[in-house]
Amino acid sequence: MSSELISEYEVVHGKAKVFYETYERKEELQHQTHYCPGCGHGTIHKMLAHAIDELEIQDRTILVSPVGCSVFAYYYFDVGNVQAAHGRAPAVATALRRSRPGSIVVGYQGDGDLSAIGSAEILHAANRGENITVIFVNNAIYSMTGGQYAPTTLLGQKSTTTPRGRSAETEGYPLHVSELLATLEAPVYIERVGLGDNKQIAQAGRAIRRAVENQVRGLGFSLIEVLSPCPTVWKMQPVEAQHWVRDVMEKTFPLGVYRDRTKEAQPWPAHEAAPSLEKIPQILGVADEDLPEGNALPRAEAEHVDLHVRVAGFGGQGVLLLGEVLAEAGLDAGLEVSWLPSYGPEMRSGTSNCHVRLSREPIDSPLVTVPNVLVAMNEPSLRKFDQSVRPGGWVIYNGEAFPEDCRQKDLRVLALPFTQVANELGDARAANMVMLGALLEIAGALPQASIDAALKRLVKNPRWVALDERALARGRELYRESCREVCHEG
């Protein structure tokens, strides 16, 4: 180089404002990075740093560093720094950006991190169109762990875990992340750039700046894939490695813009302002003034209440609702209550049951293994639980004829065709409330006002409230009638 040319070339010794003055990564040589000579990370860091400087977003920027050679990116960037688990940077970035809408969140990931272990996280962050910027450094190898193959390793390329070269038969083909993500609807900008020569580097700088700027404008997800040299693991001289990016890698990973929706993309809507703290109990429906008075002192008739109820039947018969109305009414009457459903696939396979307890005393176990009232809405439910009923307990059974073989000594039975009764009242589905009416009459436990209040709280449709009220009344009547019959029969 002639001295004339040197004088024309202005050597820039300064660094981007966003870089720290000294790098504390190492005890010595704190003006140097930890990257190997010829590594692309230094160049990419610089381009990102300049973009942050130019856009004047240093204070707002949060850099999410990955696991890989760039794990220490936080030693260089004087921004907010979060170091993420292997592959999870897009998930971490998602939450940072959503909780801090004013921030600019940049995920920085290598190809092992992003395209292998983190493939799910990047795919879904891109698909949600998270308003983040991802710098994806593709050097076709796992460098930090010493040169194992990556999803991006070229066919035939040797690595420590593909010692005979990557073969499509055993390792599949190189993964084209930019092309893959560009099939999604949400991403705003996806471009693959390279560090293969100065022209490519200049384009890479523009692309990175654009990807950050998109986020500043609030447009959504941008990803820049950078084909980057790794002379150490590739076992090449730095210049040779740089040219390998241009002459070899680029054939498998063509450079270019794979997605550009920046013109039509709309900025993300601004967050609605949070309500004042005073309003939150109301929003949650737990504000005292919005709750029913309830918790009345227990009435005299409730004094000896100690109900252990098991309700069982087919799904759709209103088993759980029957129990809920009972529990809600108990609460309204000032009793201690608990309601425990059977849950899960049992709910969907046809049978359903719940445990309800009402007591003057604090409820110890909410599990009712020995009920003093069994409400059996069909025969299989009766046969499942009849043996468990406490001696002297009640069985309220939905069926005209109580199966003789289920009759036990010390068991009191009210067996009636409740479904038919409900049908006559207007809807067979109200059978649960007819049975509850009978139960309430038997137990004599709760004031009618509490039942009414519970029904209104749990049943939203007024037509159903009216029907359920008639059903409850009819259930009470049926029990009283059955008593008269028994008395009459002597």
């Binding site: 993420a84 999870r88 795919l123 703290l277 929003i283 176990s365 909410p366 293994t369």
Partner: protein, 364 residues
């Protein structure tokens, strides 16, 4: 305050929001899904973030991000999902990030089933991820405690800068009981260490990486010191008729409820039986156990597992008293009747007086 009937899972979300939780990231799983559903309903209404993640792995790493940003945040899952979250829990413990994780347990191993089991004790209490760390673990046994311990979980998470788990079984999550809530929503402040995308927080770093061996050792010792502090200050347990108890029943969660019923019946039958119910599973309420040793003849641990809590009980007693075990699995619950029968047998078998092993007591 007025009470309302509510499922345990729903109470968790309402209490969390009142405690200042403004971010929820999760993945559906029975029997924890109601927590996600309630969070999806309420969080956007209070200026918070709800997102259903692509996996539990992503969900816990989203909590890592939200917590890094200084936001009170939570997730919920059950056995298999918690297993997937262990990576992120370890990272959060290492990076000293607070969060609350509700584990509404189900049957295992593997897919197991969706019925209630307490077989997540080990993966919650012993730390299921890599490294020397613990999560603080709270074990509610009622809907009211689901609410109260959720609020406490957020306090402890912030105080100790650590993930806190709410370990509840499917029953406690699914059942409805009357519950009352705080009438004031907590005001939260941006922690000094957070990375919030502001000039003040610029230069803050969240990481679990400590490359130097001395650095990492110092960090792990620091974490350990926090756990010791938590052990001094935060252990909680309920004692029920333990003053004169010769047979001490031990159980947490729904089992604690069953054991209360057993204590009542055993007492009615003239047996001196009490209940010790750990509320903090980590830190473990060792002192409570040691205090009961002079009177107690035998401890009976009842669990919905093959015996996980029982190991900590044995450690706490250090051989000072015999420890018996009754466990059911697969969604089967130790019934009141079956525990009572076991207690009767113990009462017959246990010798009337048991000399204190002074040497062992010296160690406890």
């Amino acid at each position: 305050m007025r009470k309302q009937l509510m499922k345990g899972n729903e109470a968790v979300v309402k209490s969390a929001i009142l405690a200042g939780c403004r971010a929820y990231y999760g993945y559906p799983i029975t029997p924890a899904s109601e927590i996600a559903e309630a969070a999806a309903n309420y969080l956007p209404q209070v200026g918070g973030v709800f997102l259903q993640a692509e996996s539990e792995v992503a969900a816990i790493n989203m909590l890592y991000g939200a917590s890094s940003a200084g936001v009170r945040c939570m997730t919920a899952s059950s056995g298999p999902g918690i297993s997937l979250m262990q990576e992120g829990i370890s990272y959060m413990a290492g990076a000293e990030l607070p969060c609350v994780i509700a584990d509404i347990t189900r049957g295992g191993p593997g897919l197991g089933n969706i019925a209630s089991e307490q077989s997540d004790y080990h993966q919650a209490v012993k730390g299921g991820g890599n490294g020397c760390y613990h999560t603080i673990v709270l074990a509610p046994y009622s809907v009211q405690e689901m609410a109260d311990l959720t609020a406490l979980a957020f306090e402890l998470a912030d105080r100790y800068r650590t993930p806190v788990m709410l370990l509840a079984d499917g029953f406690v999550g699914q059942m409805m009981e009357p519950v009352e809530f705080s009438q004031t929503a907590a005001e939260t402040h941006l922690p000094k260490w957070a990375v919030a995308g502001t000039a003040e927080s610029r230069g803050n770093l969240i990481t679990s990486l400590h490359m130097g061996s001395d650095d990492l050792e110092a960090h792990v010792r620091h974490l350990e010191a926090k756990y010791k502090l938590a052990e001094q200050n935060e252990t909680r347990a309920e004692e029920w008729h333990t003053d004169d108890a010769e047979i001490v029943l031990v159980g947490y969660g729904i089992v604690g409820r069953i054991l209360k019923a057993v204590v009542a019946d055993a007492r009615a039958a003239g047996l001196k039986v009490g209940l010790l119910r750990p509320i903090t599973l980590f830190p473990f309420p060792t002192q409570h156990f040691q205090r009961l040793v002079p009177r107690a003849r035998v401890f009976l641990v009842v669990e919905m597992s093959t015996g996980q809590l029982v190991e900590d009980v044995r450690l706490a007693l250090n051989g000072a008293r015999p420890v018996e075990f009754l466990g059911r699995m697969g969604g089967n619950v130790p019934s009141h009747e079956e525990v009572l029968e076991f207690v009767r047998k113990l009462a017959r078998r246990t010798p009337p007086a048991l000399a204190l092993d002074e040497e062992r007591m010296a160690h406890v």
